[in-house]
């Protein structure tokens, strides 16, 4: 019995991957919420997207979702790339305008 539990812990199953993804997600959230630098925030977003992708791939491996999971993962990667491109372009623009990329400095509009 104990051994089985031990084994089930040892044997990387769906939950193992999901837990990794959950942790990665929370790290991403942490980065997004706390880093002042826009690029750091964007990196945090990448972490979140990756964590979602881990979910998808894990589901495709362990559930009936099968290959579809991978398929969707693929699209997510593409999306992430597109988003990153645009985001970085915007960041560059911001840097040119504000001479800073600290998010908390970019707040002329509020209230």
């Amino acid at each position: 019995m104990n051994l089985q539990i031990l084994l089930s812990i040892a044997e990387p199953g769906l939950n193992h991957f999901l837990i990794v993804s959950a942790l990665l997600f929370s790290l991403g959230v942490m980065a997004v919420l706390s880093k002042r630098n826009v690029i750091m925030v964007l990196m945090g977003v990448e972490l979140i997207l990756n964590s979602a992708n881990i979910n998808l791939i894990a589901f495709s491996r362990f559930t009936a979702l099968s290959l579809e999971g991978q398929m969707m993962g693929l699209f997510v990667v593409i999306l992430a790339a597109a988003e990153a491109a645009v985001a970085l372009a915007i960041v560059l623009n911001i840097y040119n305008r504000f001479n800073t990329i600290n998010l908390d400095k970019i707040s002329t509009m509020k209230g």
């Binding site: 959230v29 997004v32 919420l33 706390s34 002042r36 925030v41 998010l103 908390d104 970019i106 707040s107 002329t108 509009m109 509020k110 209230g111």
Partner: protein, 678 residues
């Protein structure tokens, strides 16, 4: 025929009013002849009505009416009714009114609003005739108010004087207070019987119906209707307006405040007498007695000739009311009639005196001396013989000296009160009545002596005084004649044998027996038994009063000043009219004004403020108070607005402009949503 004639009588003065108000200024002589002429016609018609009615239709009642409004199942009928009471009153009103019209031709001749004055007199006459002729309470109330408004207009005739417009306001508002009661009384009756007509109400009561099923409400209704009389007839505690009303022209005082309008209250009580319960009547009697006493005590110390007469009027009205209250219905009403003649005469006499004084002072360019103060007169007897003689007759009449009309009626009243006390034990009523009789004789002779006898206050001025013109003395003479006994009864010491007494019998009470006043036969018996006593007593007391006055002011045997000293607070109290005005202005006027101010404050600060509520608070709190100020001025002031925008401010502060903070919010928001709803 009767109804047509009386309608004609009613409407003729109205027509006069309309013509004069619209075209008065364009008529020759500003139309005084029109008003006087119309009234003269009504007088003749009334006299004819009186004679025909009393002589050949004495017991009949003529009435006619029309539906004024039809609401649901109720029809509101207005109509007129002619019985003996009506015809007598018609003559009184038209007579006095005609004489006053006549008198005014000279008295008011240079007035700026001469035609307006006549117009208002016409309006007044119309309203007063309406009261007299009406067959129901609603119309009575309508004319009641119209009388009030025409009296308002006449008192305020010289409205440039603040005192005049104040007096007019006071008269109307105090009357409204009385009318308020009357209106409620009418509503009680209408709510119970669904009719306003006297006939209908009395009929229902006779059939045993009661307002809201209780005699208590019946008493209340009676008293409330009596409230109207309290206002109009200047009874305690609403008597305060009448003396002030002397601000109006003197002929007006004669017409309205001596003979007719103030008598309307008495007339009203006489009209509704059948439905008054014993309790109501007792209250009425006491109100009358108190009024008579208070006014008489005030009158003895006044120095303004019109004020003395005004208080005397109040006092005499108290008499009448008291008489009705004790059940001496005929006596009370008779006193109304006799009093109308001699009091109108007194006022017109006073008017004649004032006119003479005024003319004299005007000639001397004296604008400081008061033309109405008896201390400035004296010795006028020689200069104004007609006025003096007539004034003497009136004074004798009001004092109740035999051979005058006043004696006839007053004697019956005194007998009635005495009889009442023997029946019920309310001995205080006859005591007051006799005391007041003495006081009346005293102050009237004081007035007469100070005005016409003795040395003139100002010798040089005295020389220039002239008798008033004939249009002024003629009415005095007519009224003096009417103050003699034979017009009412050929027996100089007993009214009950005269036509008047015969024609006007006390009506039967229609209220349930347990609350009925003493029945007429019982009462009559009691009166007969005390009649002689009362007569003797009254003459003795009157003569005593006269004697004291003569001793004090003519022979100077007694020093009025010393007497005043001795009387102490009684004197100062009397001089200051027992401080009624002061009390009212402090308590009621002040109270109302205070409520008014409080409510205004309440309205602007609290009611509006609840809505505007947080505006000032918000101003204090707000970080950007400039903003709030600005917007308060600009219009977003409203309460909710300030509160809401305060909330909006808080919310917009959350909007920090920092995108990561927003992200924190949304995640927290999500978390909270989750926690909250799971």
């Amino acid at each position: 025929m009767f109804t047509q004639a009386s309608l004609f009588i009613l409407l003729l003065p109205l027509l006069g009013f309309l013509i004069l108000i619209l075209f008065g200024k364009r008529l020759p002589r500003q139309g005084d002849w029109l008003g006087t002429g119309f009234l003269g016609i009504t007088l003749l018609l009334s006299l004819w009505l009186l004679i025909v009615k009393i002589s050949s239709h004495s017991t009949e009642v003529f009435s006619s009416g029309f539906t004024w409004a039809l609401i649901g199942d109720y029809s509101f009928t207005l109509g007129i009714m002619i019985d003996n009471l009506t015809v007598v009153m018609l003559v009184v009103v038209t007579l006095v009114s005609t004489l006053v019209h006549l008198f005014s031709i000279a008295y008011m001749k240079d007035d700026v609003r001469y035609s307006r004055y006549y117009a208002y007199l016409g309006l007044f006459s119309f309203s007063m005739l309406g009261i007299v002729l009406t067959s129901n309470l609603l119309l009575m109330y309508i004319f009641w108010e119209l009388v009030g408004i025409s009296s308002y207009l006449l008192i305020g005739h010289w409205y440039e004087k603040k005192s005049a417009s104040d007096a007019a306001n006071k008269a109307f508002i105090v009357n409204r207070i009385g009318d308020f009661g009357m209106f409620i009384g009418i509503m009680i009756l209408f709510a119970s019987f669904a009719t306003f007509s006297f006939e209908g109400i009395f009929g229902a009561l006779e059939a045993g119906e009661l307002p809201f099923g209780s005699t208590g409400w019946l008493t209340a209704a009676g008293i409330l209707i009596f409230c109207g009389a309290v206002g109009k007839s200047a009874q305690f505690p609403l008597h305060v307006w009448l003396p002030d009303a002397m601000e109006g022209p003197t002929p007006v005082s004669a017409l309205i405040h001596a003979a007719t309008m103030v008598a309307a209250g008495v007339y009203l009580v006489a009209r509704v007498f059948p439905m008054l319960t014993a309790d109501a009547l007792l209250l009425i009697a006491y109100i009358g007695a108190i009024t008579a006493l208070i006014a008489a005590t005030i009158a003895i110390t006044q120095n303004d000739i019109k004020k003395v007469l005004a208080y005397s009027t109040v006092s005499q009205l108290g008499y009448m009311i008291m008489a009705l209250g004790v059940g001496a219905w005929t006596a009370g009403f008779m006193h109304l009639v006799t009093h109308a003649a001699f009091k109108a005469g007194l006022f017109l006499g006073a008017g004649s005196v004032i006119y003479a004084m005024h003319t004299m002072l005007h000639k001397r360019h004296d604008h400081t001396t008061d033309a109405q103060d008896i201390r400035n007169m004296g010795g006028l007897r020689s200069k104004m013989p007609y006025t003096y003689v007539t004034f003497l007759i009136f004074t004798l009449a009001i004092s109740g000296i035999p051979l005058t009309s006043g004696f006839l009626s007053k004697d019956e009243i005194l007998a009635g009160t005495l009889a009442f006390s023997t029946l019920n034990g309310h001995w205080i009523l006859p005591m007051i009545a006799f005391l007041v009789a003495g006081l009346t004789a005293f102050y009237m002779f004081r007035l007469l002596i100070l005005t016409f006898h003795g040395k003139p206050a100002d010798e040089t001025g005295h020389q220039q005084i002239e008798e008033s013109p004939f249009v002024m003395t003629l009415p005095l003479m007519i009224l003096a004649a009417l103050s003699l006994f034979f017009f009412y009864s050929f027996n100089p010491i007993g009214a009950s044998s005269g036509w008047f007494w015969q024609a006007l019998e006390r009506p039967l009470s229609v209220v349930p027996e347990i609350v009925q006043p003493a029945a007429y036969p019982i009462f009559y018996q009691a009166v007969s038994s005390v009649h002689t006593l009362a007569m003797v007593l009254s003459v003795v007391i009157a003569l005593t009063g006269i004697a004291i006055a003569v001793l004090m002011y003519h022979r100077k045997k007694l020093d009025p000043a010393a007497a005043a000293q001795k009387a102490g607070f009684l004197y100062t109290g009397s001089l200051n009219k027992w401080y009624f005005d002061e009390f009212y202005s402090k308590v009621f006027v002040g109270g109302v004004m205070a409520i008014t101010r409080i409510l205004r404050w309440f309205d602007e600060k609290v009611v509006d403020g609840i809505v505007n509520a947080t505006a000032p608070i918000a101003r204090g709190i707000s970080r950007g108070s400039g903003w709030v100020d600005h917007n308060i001025v600009d219009g977003l002031v409203n309460a909710t607005a300030a509160g809401a925008s305060q909330a909006g401010g808080l919310l917009s502060r959350i909007q920090s402009g920092k995108v990561q903070t927003y992200l924190v919010y949304i995640l927290f928001g999500m978390l909270l949503l989750g926690i909250f709803f799971i």
